[in-house]
């Protein structure tokens, strides 16, 4: 069934309808929620609020007409998926859920007057605001790598033109060339992402440029699911991928964009194609709106996702300090549902369910070999603590891994349906 606003509102039957009508008559105007950012977190909050609480007036502010998911974009780099298949619009959210979609950017939030001002000058009054800006990059943390440099050396850590640029460069690289990936320090979006990227680009190289090499220059000494990746690299791409940990590189210091030379504390590495994934912080708006603390991320109440710095403003997704929760699309979607039901409870008096928070990542090591992890979390002592964690193991059967790859495709379809309708 489709979880539409109509159905959610109609399940109660006739007598409840009367109660709803009476309540509606009591409140002269609908309570207004303005959601800023139409990524996974923002779109999920808007959809679940509109579906669960038709009495609310829900507006989603997002500059772009479409959203391209960064998750699964490594499959595009490998030539296994089109970018179009990863790109989604907001039409169903507007049409079936009655969400007001405004394609503009938010310039400012006034948490006292409770007004969001858009770059076009429009002012939106709200009873609750939700901010889901995702990540921003700390340009300058690696000397020579600024926003202009991304047009030559892509980060490809927000999907779209950056991902296309990286794919084009990989396609035109000569066989025997070196592809350098600079992996970021914690915390960053999608912990397995840089290493899945190495795996799937290796799959592409193996077919078309078998003498090519991949060099990962890491800021860290270990990485997520390291044993699973290194086992797969040995089995599928022997001798092709080399990973240099932070203790070896001493950290990534600078890049010469023209020559694609990446300088670490000890050595300079020349790349034919480079992909720099810079250190990250919460998206720009939260810095301006006073929602981020000294860490660069947004502190929140883990039961309602309301900012602890600006009352009435909630923050979800990659931009928050989420305790043990990783920065991922799944985590953002999970947080967004808890946040939506908390806002509904605050504005309509409905019962707020006990918060359940999860994360799952499907990670491809090769087209028919995927691994997954499952985590559950609980709010505890003002933060979010991990409850259970289960991760795929080295040595699982090829059949099991093939099944996980099949599930991953099914998950993507269902997840997109859950977020964008």
């Amino acid at each position: 069934m489709r979880w539409t606003r109509r159905r959610f509102g109609s399940f109660a039957g006739a007598s409840c309808l009367a109660v709803l009508q009476a309540r509606a008559a009591r409140s002269q105007t609908k309570a207004r929620v303005v959601v800023i950012g139409g990524g996974i977190g923002g779109a999920t909050v808007a959809k679940y609020l509109a579906a669960s609480a038709p009495k609310l007036d829900v507006t989603l502010v997002e500059p772009n007409p479409r959203y391209t998911t960064c998750f699964f974009s490594n499959l595009y780099l490998a030539g296994l998926r089109s970018l179009k298949s990863l790109t989604h619009d907001y039409e169903t959210l507007a049409r079936s859920y009655g969400i007001n979609i405004i394609h503009n950017a938010a310039a400012a939030i006034d948490p006292v007057a409770k007004i969001v001002t858009l770059t076009g000058g429009t002012k939106l009054a709200y009873d609750r605001a939700v901010v889901a800006p995702g990540i921003a990059f700390k340009y300058g943390a690696i000397e020579g790598y600024d926003e202009a440099a991304t047009q030559i050396i892509p980060h490809a850590w927000n999907a779209g033109p950056q991902t296309e640029l990286l794919r084009k460069q990989l396609e035109s690289m000569e066989d025997g060339g070196v592809f350098v990936i600079v992996a970021p320090p914690e915390p960053f979006r999608c912990p397995p992402g840089p290493y899945e990227r190495a795996s799937l680009v290796a799959y592409y190289f193996k077919q078309f440029k078998p003498r090519a090499k991949i060099l990962i220059l890491d800021a860290k000494d270990t990485f997520f699911e390291q044993d699973l990746f290194q086992d797969a690299w040995g089995r599928y791409y022997p001798g092709m991928i080399e990973w240099l940990p932070g203790q070896f590189t001493g950290g990534i210091k600078s890049v010469d964009v023209k020559t694609r030379a990446v300088k670490t504390a000890g050595e300079t590495f020349n790349a034919n194609v480079a992909n720099i994934i810079p250190p990250q912080m919460a998206g720009e708006l939260v810095q301006r709106a006073g929602l981020a603390d000294q860490s660069g991320w947004c502190p929140i109440d883990p039961i309602t996702f309301e900012s602890t710095l600006q009352p009435g403003v909630h923050v979800v997704g990659d931009a928050i300090s989420a305790g043990d929760m990783p920065k991922s699309a799944f985590a953002s979607n999970s947080q967004a549902k808890v946040c939506a039901f908390a806002i509904e409870a605050a504005l309509t008096g409905s019962e707020q369910p006990a918060p359940h928070l999860f994360n799952t990542c499907f990670t491809f090591l090769a087209p028919n070999d995927a691994v997954s992890d499952a985590m559950s979390f609980k709010p505890m002592g003002g933060s979010i603590k991990i409850n259970d964690i289960f991760i795929s193991q080295v040595g699982e059967s090829a059949e099991m891994r093939r099944q996980v790859a099949h599930q991953a495709d099914g998950w993507y379809a269902a997840f997109i349906h859950d977020v964008f309708g």
């Binding site: 069934m1 399940f11 007598s15 999970s334 039901f341 499952a374 559950s376 289960f390 991760i391």
Partner: protein
């Protein structure tokens, strides 16, 4: 029965009906919000695109399946994590909600 007694009885009965209805509604709403957890992976419109549909299942079968994932009798790391985080009461509410979607998705 006098007219006044009839009115009193009618009012009393409708109050009982109303509160029962509210009970169902509250439980249904709880179920719908728990089902939001499932919707991150399962399409709740009955389609199977690689992850099985969970609407249209018998209520008891669904609750039993969740119990099996919870205890580990049935393997599946994601379902194990989800089932472990839900109380038995939540599983019962969820199963009732998902089973009730069957009637709505059946062709009339």
């Amino acid at each position: 029965m006098t007219a006044s007694r009839f009115i009193v009885l009618s009012v009393a009965l409708s109050l009982v009906a109303l509160s029962a209805d509210r009970g169902i509604t509250a439980n249904n709403e709880r179920g719908a919000k728990l089902a939001a957890i499932c919707a991150s992976c399962h399409c709740l419109d009955g389609r199977d695109r690689g992850i099985p549909s969970i609407v249209g299942m018998d209520r008891e079968k669904l609750a039993d399946t969740m119990a099996a994932f919870k205890s580990g009798v049935r393997s599946g790391q994601i379902m194990h994590a989800v089932a472990l985080s839900l109380s038995n009461e939540e599983i019962a509410t969820l199963a009732e909600y998902l089973a009730a979607q069957l009637a709505e998705t059946k062709p009339r």
